[in-house]
Assembly symmetry: C2
Homo-oligomer: 198 residues x 2
């Protein structure tokens, strides 16, 4: 059964971007610090494969997912990955209103909510896991109890300001089951299962 897995790089103080993130600074001002664990590369996500073994393992798992769910904001800031995040797997872009022009390449806009978005991605993922990306969409997924796992790259830095991964959530606890922690240069890879009993 395909699992929805959130992949995000987060500072120890909980930020996934620096301040003022937008199309000019996808990761906010100086937020690229969060991606130092990746190799320098180009537009193709694959070109950023890390050289150390633990980080490469996590990266390969990410690149082995069978579909992508992403929020409209993250999608636009990333230039829609020119329509192909990896291997031509379908990209489901959650948005309130689709623009006039069709989504590029393997992307499609989903306007009828997170439940539909997850259902469509699971149907399309060929039994492989689904890569979820973006803070707002992650929060929607958590609220709707549709997130199965999280693979967080915990970065040893305090950014101080920026966009938080976890923000404006209800006070109900969401229990997590630690599945794996992998030490790697400049990053700690933490994998959790989201416990449905809450």
């Amino acid at each position: 059964m395909a699992k929805v897995v959130l992949y995000m790089s987060m500072s120890l103080d909980g930020f996934i971007t620096g301040p003022d993130d937008g199309t000019d600074h996808g990761l906010g001002v100086n937020g690229e610090r969060l991606h130092d664990w990746l190799s320098p590369g180009g537009v193709d996500p694959r070109s950023h494969r890390p050289v150390d073994e633990p980080s490469a393992t996590v990266f390969d798992e990410l690149m082995d997912t069978g579909a992508v769910i992403v929020g409209r904001r993250t999608f636009d800031i990333a230039g829609g990955w020119a329509g192909d995040h990896h291997d031509g797997v379908p990209i489901f872009v959650l948005t309130h209103a689709a623009p006039d022009e069709p989504a590029p390449g393997h992307a499609r806009y989903v306007t009828d909510g997170i439940e539909s978005c997850v259902a469509q991605a699971k149907a399309a993922a060929g039994g492989r896991d689904i890569l979820l990306h973006g803070a707002a969409t992650a929060q929607e997924c958590l609220r709707a109890c549709l997130l199965d796992e999280m693979e967080l790259q915990l970065i040893p830095v305090l950014l101080g300001q920026g966009r938080r991964l976890f923000e404006d959530m209800p006070p109900d606890h969401i229990e997590l089951e630690p599945l794996r922690s992998l030490d790697a240069p400049d990053v700690l890879h933490l994998r959790y299962r989201v416990r449905s009993e809450g």
Copy 2:
């Protein structure tokens, strides 16, 4: 040389209490979840020594510190530990204005700022590390570049709401050097050195 070491239990989403923390709920509503890695015990902090080895190691290090720095708020909520946090080491309580009655037991109020507080604690710690506790005081210490290390107990839960450990900090990055990560039941112990170059 005595190091100032912050010890705090923090949820994966960055909270050190649940909502509405105060004298009735020291850890906020349902915030005691953050202390599940400790053994059930009584008023004496020592009675909470965990049974598993990694957590006991961290706990013993905490209890081997030679002085305590704590913010007034945390101190009051904890009932001032009846004047003795552990072994009668001096407790320095950072506050803007000292109350009329003297501090209990081994505690004393410090009203002339964080620099003075750290200097007094270092002079009194007998070369041992200094236990720092409390979010506001930790933030003050970080801003003043007076925090040497952090020992965080990362708890596998999302609290959703509460008091954050890292809040309202300036946008300057503070780089951290990972020193140790210890997996233990229901907690991941993370130790970082605060890099002065920032």
